[in-house]
């Protein structure tokens, strides 16, 4: 149950949902109640950076336990080119457009992190989606942007993509806007608002957006180098934007404890100004919120994951908190410590004081479970996705091709896996489902990496409410 600080969980009376005709659900609670069990997952799958001579693809994974092809990749949508490094992707529309007549959550916007090419996939036929549009890198470079990352829809049918670099793979990054015909509309923000960019999330009812920082593409593309950290080439700041104007209102420097703030999530409740960001390198979770009294946002370290000693590693190993998500009811925060091999679940009913509920030690450097169904796990848990009802947590194991090569070289040779844990939200527990395994090691062209996961009907990391 949310406390008063989170802003309550009832849809506000100022916002009339009787005329809900557009995509998505009227409220997070409606998503929980009306959403059906996930039958399919779309998963980014890639060969970029390997010696397999094939393009990256989007996998359609069967998640229906009653199906004969449960846990299998039942369709693969190949990209037209090699070298994209598919990474994050998103829907053309989400619950934030629930008033837009005629708009459908039907098209997936699938950017290539390395190529800067942007693909559009039509999922009208959910089991056999089709590639329908391609925006070539040269068109993107014309706006002096590259390295597309997070895709969110904008409430009126547009699509906004965070871009991490300029046309040369240098700083600054920015935001690229597409219109509802999937054409580049232009840059979203006035130039010069930010240097570094990565993930973002917005709360339209609060007129706020928050964005995070990775580094210049040319810094992180070739691999992770501690020298770059010392030289200040990696980010550690949060930017709070005026969502309507596209301007930065406030920047918070998280300091040494907040190095490399990656995934950022507001609570789903549209009134809430609370959120969390995972500082991957420092392996800390920061809670941020709007301080009414001060009239500005604040951020405070809320969870600290200690580095651990390992006999084969010369220095204490950081957890490397690479992904987080918030359950649709805003009760739990989940995350992955990719290097340690740990999935964790915290009760965030009081967001300023997260309380550890449970964790699962799987894969990675310290994981207690190092194999599932006889399949060795080559890496720790990475990208996460949760069922709308909060009872099934899924994850893949690849972070980024060059970083995988550094930390888990076997990931490239064996390919990734997708695994699942059963979550008991009532008791706050996680249990590995040993019957579930999707293996990218068996792909026809050779072992592939697997990254972000999405559900056809929207998910805990894609949907925003007005």
């Amino acid at each position: 149950m949310s406390d008063a600080n989170t802003g309550g969980s009832e849809a506000g009376s100022d916002h009339d949902h009787d005329h809900h005709t557009g995509p998505g659900y009227a409220s997070p609670q409606a998503a929980i109640e009306e959403g059906e069990r996930e039958q399919l997952a779309y998963v980014m799958s890639l060969y970029t950076g390997s010696d397999v001579d094939a393009p990256d693809f989007v996998s359609v994974v069967d998640l229906d336990p009653d199906s004969e092809t449960y846990c299998e990749i039942v369709d693969r949508i190949e990209m037209p080119n090699r070298g994209d490094e598919l990474h994050h992707f998103g829907w053309n529309a989400c619950s934030s457009s629930c008033h837009m007549d005629g708009l459908e959550r039907r098209h997936l916007i699938v950017p290539g992190q390395r190529s800067s090419r942007i693909h559009v996939i039509d999922t009208k036929d959910r089991r056999n989606p089709e590639l329908v549009e391609v925006i070539e890198p040269e068109e993107v470079f014309e706006y002096d942007l590259s390295a597309p990352h997070t895709v969110h829809c904008v409430p009126d049918g547009q699509i906004l993509i965070s871009m991490l670099g300029d046309a040369d793979g240098d700083l600054p990054g920015g935001f690229l806007e597409l219109n509802d015909d999937f054409e580049i509309e232009g840059r979203w923000e006035p130039p010069g608002e930010i240097e570094m960019n990565y993930d973002y999330w917005y709360q339209p009812r609060q007129n706020v957006m928050v964005s995070t920082e990775w580094a210049a593409p040319k810094t992180y593309y070739p691999g992770f180098d501690l020298d770059d950290v010392e030289e200040g080439k990696y980010g550690r700041r949060l930017h709070f934007w005026d969502w309507e104007n596209g301007t930065v209102e406030q920047t918070i420097d998280l300091g040494e404890e907040g190095l490399i703030p990656l995934e950022v999530r507001f609570l789903h409740t549209p009134e809430s100004t609370h959120g969390f960001v995972g500082a991957a390198l420092s392996s800390n979770m920061f809670h941020f919120w709007y301080d009414e009294g001060a009239g500005e946002y604040r951020a405070e370290k809320a969870i600290d994951f200690e580095a651990r000693d390992h006999p084969d590693w010369e220095m204490p190993v950081p957890g490397l908190t690479t992904d987080i998500l918030i359950s649709m009811d805003d009760r739990y925060l989940f995350g992955s410590n990719w290097l340690h091999g740990e999935l964790w679940m915290y009760d965030i009913s009081d967001p300023a004081n997260p309380r550890r509920a449970d964790s699962l030690s799987v894969g990675g450097t310290f994981g207690e479970v190092q194999g599932v169904q006889g399949r060795e796990l080559a890496a720790g848990p990475q990208m996460l996705q949760l069922s709308l009802d909060g009872e099934r947590l899924y994850w893949t194991t690849s972070l980024f091709s060059t970083w995988d090569e550094q930390f888990y070289p076997e990931e490239g040779e064996r390919g990734s896996v997708m695994l699942k844990a059963d979550v008991d939200p009532r008791n706050g527990t996680l249990e590995l489902d040993e019957d579930f395994l999707v293996d990218w090691g068996d792909c026809p062209a050779g072992p592939a990496r697997a990254h972000e996961i999405r559900w056809p009907d929207g998910d805990c990391t894609s949907d925003v409410w007005q």
Binding site: G49, P222, D225, T402
Partner: protein, 125 residues
């Protein structure tokens, strides 16, 4: 206009020599010749296409361990644009971005994803 024989030695794989026009990048020529190389951005920013120069025409082959000072990439290739994904230490060690490098002499280059993974190692190990 000249063309040079460039030998691509895939680490742990086959070796192939292709004639590359001085106006053509190694990546373009390799694709034309059906010898796929890894690549990503094609603009010199991501490092996915990196190779390591082993020898230039007429010189003895350079053993990676023996090459304290590396080998000067400028003796073998011109760049179409700035090789942004390479740090000075990588350039000094003979690494070359094949998506933007055009040959200026015959040479031998180590290629494939293994070369990329040599660029940066695990800082904690």
């Amino acid at each position: 206009m000249s063309s040079y024989d460039v030998t691509l030695e895939r680490v742990g794989g086959p070796t192939r020599t292709i004639g590359i026009d001085e106006r053509e990048t190694v990546l373009e020529a390799a694709q034309r010749a059906g010898t796929p190389l890894p690549y990503g951005c094609r603009t010199g920013a991501c490092g996915t296409c990196v190779g390591r120069l082993l020898a230039v025409d007429g010189t003895a082959s350079v053993d990676a361990d023996a090459a304290e000072d590396g080998i000067d990439v400028a003796d073998a290739f011109a760049y179409r644009r700035e090789p942004r994904a390479l740090k000075p230490r990588h350039r000094d060690d003979g690494y070359v971005l094949l998506c933007i490098a055009t040959p200026e002499t015959a040479c031998r280059v180590a290629v494939g994803s293994q070369v990329q993974s040599e660029l940066v190692d695990n800082p904690w190990k």
